[in-house]
């Protein structure tokens, strides 16, 4: 049986894609530790008929350095990133926190960079990506996605369109998971206490997976779930949408 074809995005006779190609900003964390998230992002975009480019010169946006107090280093990395992506009109990233950082600190790129769900829902006008996922999922809105990008319910709309997916609401969803960049190790005790609360919320939903738009939160939450040997997977939004 052929895979269900999403109808929302099929170009009509008169229409064509507003933007033929998009540059992927995969992030240093994604590139090095979570390549599946980048691969899933590519899958999702190519399924929509979009050409994905990957400027190989990219490394890191500097968010961690800025937040840790190394402002000069962060500025240099930001300037470098602006140069690397200079020729790209549309940039997408699967990291809400990195997108928030770029928007705030790189004026040259601010208008051009989008988080994945922003790109899909706002720029491309699609919510149904033809994805299917059998199982229950709860969504954790990362602090940057919630308070800086104001992603709102975009990720939820995308998740609701996934065939077979049962969405469970996360209690106290807006509470920080406790990652916070270097905070996770500099204040590891408090970070762990905050994580315990978030894990309790996740486990209370009974969902088989927790989903977010930030690999950093997922590394922390997922790491906690694994330590507890909980039967809950930590998945990035892109990984679910690529199914």
């Amino acid at each position: 049986m052929p895979a269900a074809t999403p109808t929302a995005w099929q170009p009509s006779g008169a229409g064509r894609w507003p933007t033929p190609s998009v540059a992927l900003f995969v992030t240093c964390l994604g590139d090095t530790l979570f390549p599946d998230v980048g691969k899933a992002t590519v899958t999702v975009l190519e399924r929509l008929g979009i050409t994905v480019e990957f400027p190989l010169e990219q490394t890191c946006c500097g968010q961690m350095h800025l937040n840790a107090g190394y402002a000069d280093e962060a500025r240099a990395l930001g300037e470098r990133m602006e140069r690397v992506f200079a020729g790209h009109e549309l940039i997408v990233s699967p990291s809400a926190s990195c997108v928030a950082h770029v928007r705030e600190h790189m004026p040259g790129l601010a208008g051009r960079v989008h988080e994945l769900s922003e790109l899909l829902v706002d720029r491309l006008g699609v919510e149904d990506l033809g994805a299917s996922y059998t199982g229950s999922v709860t969504y954790h809105p990362s602090c940057h996605s919630l308070r800086l990008l104001h992603l709102g319910d975009r990720p939820l709309r995308l998740l609701r369109a996934v065939r077979g997916l049962e969405l469970h609401e996360l209690p106290e969803a807006a509470e920080c998971c406790g990652f916070g960049g270097t905070f996770a190790v500099k204040n590891a005790d408090v970070s762990s206490a905050m994580l315990a609360d978030k894990l309790a919320s996740v486990e209370a939903t009974g969902a088989g997976a927790v989903c977010a738009c930030d690999s950093s939160c997922l590394m922390h939450i997922g790491g906690g779930l694994e330590r507890r040997r909980a039967p809950v997977r930590a998945l990035h939004l892109a990984e679910i949408l690529a199914q």
Binding site: P35, L56, M64, N67, A68, A184, N187, D189, S191, G223
Partner: protein, 473 residues
Amino acid sequence: MSEAARDARPLLFPQAARLALADPQLRANIRLATTTIRAKRAAVVSELPDWEQLREAGQAIKDRALHGLDELLVELEAAVTRAGGTVHWARDAEEANRVVVDLVRATGADEVVKVKSLTTDEIRLNDALQAGGVRAIETDLAELIVQLAGERPSHLLVPAIHKNRTEIRDLFRERLGRPDLSDDPHELAEAARLHLRAAFLRARVAISGLNFAVAETGTCCVVESEGNGRMCLTLPETLITVMGIEKVISRWDDLGVLLQLLPRSSTGERMNPYTSLWTGVRAGDGPRAFHLVLLDAGRTRVLADPEGRPALRCIRCSACLNICPVYKQTGGHAYHTVYAGPIGAILQPQLSGETGQAATLPFASSLCGACYEVCPVKIDIPRILVHERAKAVRAEAQGLEGVGLRFLARVFSQRRRYERAQRLGRALQRPVVRNGHVRWFVGPLKGWGLSRELPALPQQTFREWWEQRERGT
């Protein structure tokens, strides 16, 4: 740990937090109290359709005052003096304490009643009074509890938030000589009321802080819940008020905005029970002598930093403490400052310098931003936290962390270097990795390993996958 011992060597935040986290009673108390107050605040704020405009107005009022602080303080002094009060200027805590103690001793009193004042806590006025032979009686119920227990307050607004009613009953039984007391809140409050009433009626001198001082009219304003402030401000012959210079506002009308913002943000009430306003002295009504002590103590230092100065807008509502996910876990004692929580993390290092223990405070945050959302005067606390972190890093060498992060920045600055580092990381991790996970958490990773697994670096990076795909292999 006793108050004196705690002050002698304030623990750095991570260590202090670890102690707090080991206290289940404290954590339960904090969690219950913050959850309750959060809900109350959210309810009364949602009633106002113009809450966001009120916040912007509050921000503008405080910014305008800070911008013209030097002129406003002079205007305030003139207005207070015209109204029969006396104004004193204190450069630092020592000078302020000297002025206050001398004023008290000049009246011949050996006892004062006090209204809760964070500013007087900040300068350790009670210690200075005691050294000068003057007993200071805290009259705010929570401050009374904390004083009887020989501790320091753990929350801006609810100083005894770390104590539950059973602990308070035990304290009152012992320190108020009331072995009959149960833990019924009404009974406990009545016991405190009887104890305090005697103090109010015999007091000849009161010491207070204030929430706002209006330069235009010379009016001082105290916002409170219990009525002890009203007693202190009206009964004794002499009133001494200590105020941080950032408390001055320009116009009487400014109070209209600020008094809507403050009660809703702090106790989650539409209006607090007692708001007292007084201007100098008035014959036949209230104190015969009024002294206003203007305190700098580092505030001009904060004012000098354009990025950091919004911290001075603070109206001490504590909404940021109540919403903070870090504070929820540790409570206020872990900050070892009078000003705890998010506002403390940006104010204290600016007041005292970004070194030592104070320098650990801006890092006591995951930068979640919830504080900024609830701040009634729109202080962008996360932005200032990052700014303060940069100052801390510039002020003091950060050891291995500095070496590591600077090295990482160099790695990130060149594609080939970065790719080489990725490959090197994969090779070097082999001794500490098994079954795709880190098994031995060394160095900075030790903290991670407390509660989390860490995946090993995968065998292929994203870019290696991409390049392979592009080559068609």
